[in-house]
Amino acid sequence: MKYLLHFYYLFLLFLFSSPLSADNFYIEGSPAQVTIDTSGGETRPKMLDLRVGYVKSMHQFELAIMTSVSDDELNQLTVDVPSAVSVLYHYLPFVDSDIQLHLIVGASQIEVDSSYPGTADSSDSFQGVSFGIGFEESFSAMPQLKMSADWIRLYHGDEMNITAFSLGVHYDF
């Protein structure tokens, strides 16, 4: 957690200390399906993914906050992800292309709640490096508005992985 806080701080410092212009900011919103994949099975809670960020040429920096929409069940196991916070850097290798490819790295903290008959309800927190890939395409009638799709491995562990797939809209100010 402390590492993530350090990074939030650096991120905010960067945003407000750099000579930014308003039209470089963006917001993004999308539904997301989070897959918790373990060696024993997987569950797929659904979330709402909200992001704010700044784009500069081939670089994009963003803060992603996800909140729970619905939990998922594996037989009698109920799994929910009440929150996930990520700080992400996107590298855009083909800026002149109609469809933008995003290579994504960053860090995430994911809270996972679970309940199962015969055991106490529990909450686990996972922090770690995140990475992924995304695509983005502008609407021709309204270039500030884009469709975006991301696949991000939020947490890559030894015995389990947490992955988010989101499909939403992106608006450049």
């Binding site: 590492y3 993530l4 350090h6 990074f7 650096l10 991120f11 410092l13 960067f14 200390s17 750099s18 000579p19 930014l20 918790i36 373990t38 060696s39 024993g40 099975g41 997987e42 569950t43 500069k56 670089h59 920096f61 594996l74 037989n75 009698q76 196991l77 799994v79 700080v87 850097y89 790295v105 960053g106 860090a107 996972v112 679970s114 199962y116 008959p117 015969g118 055991t119 529990s122 686990d124 927190s125 996972f126 922090q127 770690g128 490096v129 947490y155 890559h156 562990g157 030894d158 015995e159 389990m160």
Partner: protein, 473 residues
């Protein structure tokens, strides 16, 4: 963006990348929850028949069962079980649950861990050696059984260690496969075909009854104590009649009380699966029904017209039609029959009708099965070597002297056959104009062209029709 800001970001990313690491300690809990939930179990236990006394240098495959979340059903837990033995144990166990006993006696604790659930059982590795079977059941209470039923038996053996101490316990899984079961008729000591004892690869032993009467069971096995072959004392058992009636049903029937064979006709190469159902009289006066296919005697008359084989578990008989437009009779008996049977160990299926021996308890049932002609799914028709579509005009570029048809039928068993000359294929000219456009020749599939116009020929074969339409210039 300034180069300083960019450097800040890169440094921060590098910092995070280095600092962040996976929370391995937090993963275990969630992984274990998913593991247990995937099997939908809420608790685990060792099955009741689990061996807790094991002979030295023997192997036992342990099994874990889980109680499903409905609180009623149990399931064998196969994967992701961690097997372990208490510290200091000389015996070993692999992660498939195969326990290898040490060559000296010891007491240990076997633990099976499945997700966050764990269960332990005490095991004693005993140096006592098997001598002979002394009982057919642990409680020695005996059992009642009717014709064509089966009963699980749990042989109990006498074991003795090097100090002469005797142990009476369930025969272990190694010895159980070394037992030869002898069954004789009580009245004359002759080899009996009233019952058979089967030992499965899962170390279970079943007595299958085929006819009523009194039998004597003996277990013959090598005594590990003396090195001599030892035959047990006599175990007397009565097989009761207990049967009201038997009948044949479709294998898909679940209501055994009301089931019948719904469809007594199959096409060639099609399969009909039948089961034998017995209606029994319970001690309280009620009746109940059981699938008795495995222990019944089956006979097929005109068996050349069909091939019959038991399913792997012998719970049904699968009959495949071989000869079109033929009949077979399936007969079924439970009890003593007149026909001689050489080997009853793999089920009884004779190529003749079975009939009851008037001197024995016996119930009989039968069913006629007709193997019908293959049905036709479609035709491939060519006229003068040009493909024709059913009831669709074929325009010829020039006027031929004759029209020759070539007909292939596509059957329901995915086979095809040229039926142009088949006597069952009928060709009919459908009049379309006066004077007529075509007329028949000596060969049924060849037609002489007489005039310009549209010629129509109807083909009929096994109830299916195809219309050839040709526009002749």
């Amino acid at each position: 963006m300034t180069s300083k800001a960019m450097a800040n970001i890169l440094l921060a990313a590098l910092f995070i990348f280095i600092a962040a690491c996976s929370d391995a300690e937090n993963e275990t809990h969630l992984v274990e929850l998913h593991t247990v939930a995937s099997e939908d179990v809420i608790s685990i236990s060792f099955p009741e028949e689990t061996e807790t006394v094991v002979s030295i240098s023997s192997e036992v495959e342990y099994r874990l069962q889980g109680l499903k979340s409905n609180g009623v059903d149990t399931v064998t837990v196969d994967g992701d079980v961690e097997w372990s033995l208490s510290a200091g144990a000389v015996s070993s166990i692999n992660q498939q649950g195969l326990f290898t006993a040490a060559d000296t006696s010891e007491t240990l604790t076997l633990t099976a861990k499945f997700g966050f659930l764990s269960e332990s059982i005490d095991i004693r590795v005993s140096s006592a050696k098997f001598d002979q079977v002394v009982k057919l059941d642990e409680d020695d209470a005996g059992f009642s059984i009717n014709m064509c039923q089966y009963q699980t038996i749990k042989p109990v053996g006498r074991y003795e260690d090097e100090d002469g101490n005797e142990e009476i316990r369930l025969v272990d899984s190694k010895v159980i496969h070394q037992i030869e079961w002898l069954i004789t008729n009580e009245e004359d000591g002759s080899d009996s075909q009233r019952a058979i004892i089967e030992t499965t690869s899962q170390d279970e032993v079943f007595l299958h009854s085929l006819a009523s009467g009194n039998i004597v069971i003996n277990a013959k096995a090598l005594s590990h104590l003396t090195g001599l072959e030892v035959t047990s004392t006599d175990f007397d058992q009565t097989i009761d009649h207990g049967l009201n009636s038997i009948k044949l049903c479709d294998s898909t029937d679940t209501d055994l009380g009301n089931c019948v064979v719904d469809e007594s006709e199959i096409e060639k190469d099609q399969v009909i699966s039948l089961i034998a159902v017995g209606n029994y009289q319970a001690a309280d006066g009620s009746t109940y029904n059981e699938n008795i296919s495995r222990n019944s005697k089956w006979g097929i008359a005109d068996s050349i017209n069909a091939s019959s084989v038991f399913s792997d578990d012998r719970q049904q008989l699968d009959i495949t039609g071989d000869v079109e437009d033929s009949d077979i009779t399936v007969s079924l008996a439970c009890g003593g029959i007149e026909q001689t049977i050489d080997d009853i160990s793999q089920g009884v299926l004779l190529d003749t009708l079975v009939s009851c021996d008037i001197n024995s308890d016996c119930e009989l049932a039968s069913q006629e099965i007709h193997v019908s002609l293959l049905s036709v799914l479609s035709f491939d028709v060519r006229a003068n070597n040009v493909a024709v579509t059913d009831n669709t005009v074929l325009n010829l570029a020039s006027r031929p002297n004759t029209i020759t048809l070539d007909v292939t039928a596509n059957f329901s068993n995915d086979s095809s056959e040229n039926i142009t000359d088949d006597s069952d294929l009928d060709y009919f000219i459908i009049p379309t104009a006066v004077p007529e456009v075509i007329e028949e020749t000596v060969s049924t599939e060849v037609f002489t062209v007489l005039n310009t116009g549209t010629a129509k020929i109807r083909l009929e074969y096994r109830g299916e029709t195809f219309i050839v339409v040709i526009d002749i210039p």
